[in-house]
């Protein structure tokens, strides 16, 4: 166990330092994978508490605009701009938790979808503030090097993973799973669902907004279509579902797998429609045939192997280690 943690820590450090020596194309991958790791962990945290979001681009976009506005209007540099990005994400998520109240499942999902679409319309209709549909460039003078942005992306992704891990060791993790399984039964055990809902959504919102905030410094440009892109919403849930929903490693593995797959199909089959089609089909079939994701399938396989060796024990479905 100790050895494992040391190994993970070394991997994390390597990932953070890699941009210093990597060519631009690798840095581009680090940015995309790192952003998706953050989004996927963020989405999975909420899902773990039974809150399936169909509008994570809302947080991504709010974070993007918060960082952009403090940079362009107040002259805040890269690092400083990430703080208001996270705060805006956390506060808006807390507000959503209160407003949506007891909405769960499809109802919560639709509420989130409506929110992100609504925010995009608002961004288009307030050009003085957001630059409107034409979009806005980030103040060039403030922009850090690509290497710096890539390093910070990796760092933030590692931080999100570490936070998710630490949370899994606390009572919070028990409350979230209990609420997901049966909210009314959880209440009879002393759990105040609203409180945990606010906490988990705030954290989730902050992470997704942070990802959005970091990203504008790489792209240097933002418009409502990029900020509140449905694609972000979809990726944010495909990655954890592909990797293994409700697991720690799932969102991370899923982010690598999703981006890796997209790159592989693109380089093998070209930029055009066929590669997108193949990419989509592989995703669909993976999720169909591995409903528990890569992590779940792996665990089942390992269990199957070890049980075969010891001799099958009937009727004891062991709890997967998280």
């Amino acid at each position: 166990m100790k050895l494992r943690i040391v190994l993970y820590a070394l991997l994390a450090i390597a990932a953070i330092l890699l941009p210093l020596v990597a060519p631009p194309i690798v840095n581009n991958m680090i940015l995309r994978i790192g952003s998706l790791v953050m989004l996927a962990i963020s989405w999975n945290l909420a899902a773990n508490a039974g809150l399936i979001s169909l509008g994570h681009s809302a947080f991504w976009g709010l974070g993007s605009y918060a960082a952009l506005l403090v940079a362009n209007k107040l002259g805040w540099p890269f690092f400083a701009s990430l703080v208001p990005a996270m705060i805006v994400g956390a506060v808006s998520a807390a507000a959503i938790a209160v407003i949506t109240g007891r909405l769960k499942g499809i109802f919560f999902a639709i509420a989130m979808l409506a929110l992100s679409e609504g925010l995009r319309v608002v961004a288009v209709m307030t050009p003085d503030f957001t630059g409107g549909g034409a979009g806005v460039f980030v103040d060039q003078a403030l922009r850090p090097t690509t290497e710096t942005v890539a390093m910070v992306t990796a760092l933030c992704a590692v931080a999100c993973a570490a936070i998710a891990y630490l949370i899994s060791l606390t009572p919070f993790h028990y409350a979230c799973r209990a609420m997901r399984n049966n909210e009314s039964a959880s209440e009879m055990l002393g759990i105040n669902p609203l409180r945990f809902r606010i906490a988990v959504l705030s954290l989730s919102g902050a992470m997704a907004s942070l990802a959005g905030g970091v990203n504008i410094w790489y792209s240097g440009f933002l418009d409502p279509m990029i900020g509140f892109d449905l694609h972000v919403t979809i990726l944010a849930q495909i990655a954890p579902i592909l990797g293994g929903i409700h697991t720690l490693a799932g969102p991370i593995i899923g982010a690598f797998a999703t981006i890796g797959l997209s790159e592989a199909t693109r380089t093998l089959l070209g930029e055009q429609g066929v590669s997108l089609l193949v990419y989509g089909l592989i995703l669909v079939f993976s999720i169909l045939y591995m409903p528990k994701g890569i992590v779940g399938t792996w665990n089942t396989w390992v269990q199957y192997r070890s049980r075969g060796a010891v001799g099958a024990k009937v009727g004891t479905t062991k709890a997967a280690p998280l």
Partner: protein, 245 residues
């Protein structure tokens, strides 16, 4: 300990509980019986804050609890089981019980919660299945788990909604034994049960509910011989019912 005063619960035009008054004394083991639809489960839902009573007042250890949320009521020391079992299927048996221990009191550590949960699981005799996913348990084991989860909150008042129903006779004997041990530890118990012989054997006081109202209350012996009670059980003499089951 628990005072229910003139409580009414209406669902539209239906009076599920009708001007009901009931007192549970400290250390009592109170049995509640009544035909289907009498309002027994509704009574528990009103006590535990799932429904706010339409009228009336409920106090627990002197504190007014009607209008409080279920999680607040839990923290005051009231636990319950559900008639239709509601374990957390995607959590292990141990994690289910730990959830009960973790949130019923402020500031308990995970380690302490684990000890307390294991204690509760041992008490109901499913500790050997601690690592099993709750969803994979048999119905009988789920019922035991639900009881363990309630016990892990360390309640002073335990409300049971037909824990025995559907269990084989061997389990019923175990459960009766278990409830006696819990009661002996100083936990006050209000149990709803269809199995009349169980109530007769365990309860010190029996409350008969019919159409949301008190039909009769008294000690077990008097209840069996009460004509109106017999009638509300479709005319079958309760001795016969007891002998049957």
């Amino acid at each position: 300990m628990l005072e229910i005063e003139h409580v009414t619960k209406r669902f539209g035009g239906l009076l599920a509980i009708n001007d009901l008054s009931l007192t549970v004394k400290k250390n009592q083991l109170l049995g509640v019986i009544g035909p289907n639809g009498a309002g027994k489960t509704t009574l528990l839902n009103v006590i535990t804050g799932y429904f706010r009573p339409s009228q009336g007042k409920i106090t627990f250890e002197g504190e007014r609890i009607d209008g409080k949320a279920p999680y607040e009521i839990c923290r005051l020391g009231i636990a319950r089981t559900f008639q239709v079992v509601q374990p957390f299927p995607e959590m292990s048996v141990l994690d289910n019980a730990m959830t009960g221990a973790l949130f019923s009191r402020e500031g308990i550590t995970i380690r302490k919660a684990r000890d307390r949960a294991m204690e509760a699981l041992e008490m109901v005799d499913i500790a050997h299945q601690a690592d099993v996913m709750a969803g994979a348990l048999t119905l009988g084991a789920k019922k035991k788990l639900e009881l363990a989860r309630a016990l892990a909150t360390q309640p002073r008042l335990l409300l049971l909604d037909e824990v025995m129903a559907g269990s084989p006779q061997s389990d019923i004997d175990d459960l009766m034994n278990l409830l006696q041990r819990i009661h002996a530890k100083g936990v006050t118990i209000l149990m709803i049960e269809h199995l009349v012989h169980v109530i007769i054997a365990l309860a010190q006081h029996v409350f008969v509910l019919n159409f949301g109202q008190e039909l009769f209350q008294g000690n077990p012996g008097d209840v069996i011989s009460h004509p109106e009670v017999i009638e509300s059980y479709l005319g079958k003499p309760l001795e016969a019912l007891a002998a049957e089951s």
